[in-house]
Amino acid sequence: MSEQQSIPRPSGPSGPREGRPSGPGGGGPPRRGKRQYFRKKKVCRFCVEKVDFIDYKKVEMLQPFVQERGKILPRRMTGTCSKHQRWLGVAIKRARNIALLPFATEL
């Protein structure tokens, strides 16, 4: 529909507009047309640090990949590679089980 409207998108979680239908994961190529913004290519943080095992006990390490309400952030927002996102999901779910991370933040 109106591509132009969705371009100046605020960073961070912001409702249904976030679900971009297609495009290569993470920072894809800039759309054709006016260059209104510049998106940095996202790299997997775990690949950069060569992490082989994501420990569910290190909450401060998992925290950046969880929304305030406790949801796991999607790959397209964090730039994590699929392998590490899988491990991350397992780690976050384990941490939830032992009350280190919330399933959902209560109000």
């Binding site: 060569k50 032992i98 009350a99 399933f103 209560e106």
Partner: protein, 150 residues
């Protein structure tokens, strides 16, 4: 049987006295040794805030154990004991040996590749490419290459 590695975390009521916690850990260790296991590490994380309420508590006393076991029944027994103990409000056991095995495999794979790559680059190139990659200058680079060979 296969030696397996587990993580066991349990949470006590925040009001539990020190001795009570020590007693619980003691019984767990004893049970482990009776069933052909061994508690490798005990960590008391102290009272920390839980992400959600458990047993109407917002805080809990976390205790972490790392243990080896050759018998699956040991975990069953330990969990039964934790369930029966009143002071324990939550517990979780995670089997970790398979993940650690996978991790070691990845590390070995990476080291293998790291060992192979410089030799490959030095073979056909034999000139500026590896020197430029090492960056520090011509003098230290050959020394570093010779060290593993000798």
């Amino acid at each position: 049987m296969a030696d397996r590695l587990y993580d066991l975390i349990f949470i006590c009521m925040p009001t539990t006295p020190e001795e009570e916690v020590a007693k619980i850990v003691g019984t767990l260790e004893q049970t482990a040794s009776e069933h052909g296991g061994k508690v490798e590490k005990v960590e008391k994380w102290g009272t920390r805030k839980m992400a959600y309420r458990v047993a109407k508590q917002r805080e809990g006393l976390y205790v972490y154990l790392a243990l080896h076991s050759t018998e699956g029944n040991l975990i069953k027994e330990l969990e039964r004991r934790l369930k029966v103990t009143d002071a324990v409000i939550k517990y979780m056991t995670v089997r970790l040996d398979e993940e650690i095995k996978r991790q070691q495999k990845l590390v070995a794979h990476r080291e293998h590749r790291a060992r192979r790559r410089p030799r490959k680059a030095a073979g056909p190139g034999a000139g500026p490419a590896p020197a430029a990659a090492s960056g520090a200058g011509p003098a230290p680079a050959p020394a570093a290459e010779q060290a593993p060979a000798s």
